[in-house]
């Protein structure tokens, strides 16, 4: 296990390097930030001084080197819109996003596990058809449209929930539902097919033929074994989940990382964009690592190397 962990951790270093290179190149291509940082009537001399002090006159590779050195000390630059450390601004917004993503993930699991098991055990009945139908429609609906429709029905027409913002529990209901739908749909499909596979295994047939109760076999034997792919996939959904928060936060004006990122993209506040991309990528890498470890830990048949 230690050897496996070490190897996986070492693999992360080149990945972070490549990401830093991609992000830096994009920002480099994006062009001169100086025009945004100075007032419109700044003199040519001021522009030149700022360029010089920011190191923008250096060649690409030197700038990348400086950028990497700053990264290592946790310095992502200063946001020109907020006037403070970019990383600070990003970390400030992270809790709101984690709150939303966490609740959405919880809702998805709570809905998808029973629904998936249920439709697998009642396979090819009309109940199964309803469950799989709901799952496929949930997958086909664009996140942001669903959010808008929920606002239309529950906020505008019925007035049950606030349209946007963060504060009370009522504020989080609609965005969490929006975010959860796509993930729950994907998970239901996965749990269903994973359960169907477990249910057709020999050990399930043996258990049934021993005279064990059907429910016991479903939960103790089949479900436990189909949990392995489900748990790993849940962790691998991080990327989808984070991608979903971008849109959902914009639709509901939820003051999280997603909203900050999109506003920063519009305003070309590249320090914030870089810091966010880095934080999100690190989060995804961390979750993938946990998924990998769990997968090996849960299934003793998989060798640790």
């Amino acid at each position: 296990m230690a050897k496996f962990l070490l190897r996986r951790l070492l693999q992360i270093i080149p990945v972070l390097l490549i990401i830093s290179f991609i992000v830096f190149s994009l920002v480099f291509v994006a062009g001169d930030p100086v025009a945004l940082m100075l007032p419109d009537d700044a003199s040519q001399e001021d522009v030149e001084n700022l360029r010089e002090s920011l190191g923008l006159n250096e060649p690409f590779i030197v700038q990348y080197g400086i950028y990497l050195r700053d990264l290592l000390t946790g310095d992502f630059g200063t946001s020109y819109r907020y006037g403070t450390d970019a990383l600070e601004v990003v970390l400030d917004r992270l809790p709101a996003t984690l709150e939303l993503a966490g609740l959405a993930l919880f809702l998805s699991v709570v809905v998808a596990i029973p629904l998936g098991i249920w439709s697998a055990t009642k396979r090819n009945t009309s109940m199964d058809l309803v469950a799989t139908g709901a799952a496929v429609v949930g997958k086909a609906m664009p996140n942001f449209w669903l959010g808008i429709m929920l606002i239309l029905v529950f906020s505008v027409m019925l007035g049950w929930f606030p349209v946007s913002g963060r504060g009370t529990f009522l504020h989080i209901v609609l965005p969490a539902l929006t975010l959860a739908t796509g993930i729950a749909a994907e998970m239901t499909r996965l749990i269903r097919s994973s359960m169907i596979e477990s249910l057709s295994q020999d050990y399930v047939r043996t258990a049934r033929s021993k005279g064990l109760k059907r429910n016991l076999v479903v939960y103790k034997h089949a479900f436990k074994n189909s949990l392995i792919p489900v748990i790993t996939i849940t962790f691998l959904q991080t990327s989808t989940l984070v991608g979903g928060t971008l849109i959902t936060e914009t639709v509901f004006a939820w003051p999280g990382l997603g909203q900050l990122l999109i506003q920063s993209v519009y305003a070309r506040d590249m320090a914030i964009v870089q810091a966010s991309v880095f934080i999100i990528a690190s989060l995804v890498i961390l979750m993938n690592l946990i998924a990998d470890i769990l997968y090996r830990y849960l299934d003793p048949r998989i060798k640790l190397n």
Binding site: V29, V136, A140, P142, I151, L152, V265
Partner: protein, 302 residues
């Protein structure tokens, strides 16, 4: 010898009708597959014949008919079946034209992503070693950045438009293909016929093109079909955020974005393009699921 040749000809002659019969039969047997094919065919036809089908020019502003509701509601008229938007543009015509962008971007960017991904996957899997290590770290890096975020950052830098969208979505979406093709290549290259080809001195390039590529194509078709569905949603999301197509080009996402501001009074602007996206994507998923079951029976999902 002659008899054997004749037999062969017989087989050759019979292949075609059987082929279509077999696929026709397989399709007919699966209800969702049939529904999927019908939906996809209709969507493609609507996109192709949009200028003939649309009752109005989608960009035509008409102050006399602003925010008209759909025909079946009070105040609506059959002149504008799905109502009009805040500039008096016909909602139905805009949705019909919007299908062009969705389908064009969806298919073209998947083809581009597929070309990149299949190439990298074949090279990575076939050569192995340090080439594989480097390419797989590249794959890991792309996987760590959510596609929509990646696309968003690139689109904020370059001038957005249909062409940019296709390239950006193609360049950010190749990872899944590379992983899949690499995995398949790893197992296929160990097979006897590949080893035999190698031992008689067939060049690497020829082995990849003649022996590996045809074997990975079927799985490629399956995931690329499903990927068109996710790409259509992705394009709509980006256009919704204002970073996709720019006016006067219409996309389902941009109509939705316009309609969002009029949600309280004119719900129809934002509602119908969403339904169009959902139905189209649903059709593609049905078709893709069916293709997967037929092409790769191992992963049957029923």
């Amino acid at each position: 010898m002659d008899a054997a040749l004749n037999d062969n000809n017989e087989i050759q002659k019979n292949v075609r009708p059987n082929f279509f019969k077999r696929w026709g039969f397989l399709l007919w047997r699966s209800k969702t597959g049939t529904v999927g094919l019908i939906i996809v065919t209709i969507s493609v036809l609507i996109a192709i014949f949009a200028p003939l089908l649309a009752p109005y020019d989608p960009a035509m502003i008409n102050p006399a008919s602003m925010l008209l509701p759909p025909a079946w509601l009070e105040g609506g008229s059959t002149e504008h079946l799905l109502g009009t938007d805040n500039l008096g543009r016909d909602n139905l015509s805009r949705i019909i034209y919007g299908s062009q962008v969705s389908i064009l971007v969806g298919v073209a960017s998947v083809v581009l992503a597929g070309a990149i991904g299949v190439t990298i996957g074949l090279i990575s899997g076939y050569f192995g070693g340090w080439i594989d290590s480097i390419l797989m770290r590249l794959v890991d890096s792309f996987l760590a950045i959510p596609t929509i975020l990646f696309a968003l950052v690139i689109l904020s830098i370059f001038e957005s438009g249909v062409m940019t969208l296709i390239i950006v979505l193609g360049v950010t979406n190749w990872v899944n293909y590379a992983r899949l093709v690499r995995g398949e290549t790893l197992s296929i290259k160990e097979r006897d016929y590949v080893r035999a080809a190698h031992s008689i001195g067939v060049s690497d390039f020829k082995i990849i093109i003649k022996h590996l590529l045809p074997n990975v194509i079927s799985s490629f078709i399956v995931i690329s079909t499903l990927s068109v569905a996710t790409t259509i949603i992705l394009e709509a999301s980006l256009s919704f955020l204002g970073l996709g197509v720019q006016p006067p080009v219409v996309s389902w996402g941009s109509i939705l974005s316009d309609g969002r501001d009029y949600l309280a009074t004119s719900w129809w602007i934002a509602t119908f393009p969403g339904i169009a996206i959902t139905i189209t994507v649903l059709g593609i998923i049905f078709l893709g699921d069916w293709l997967r079951d037929v092409i790769d029976p191992r992963s049957k999902s029923n």
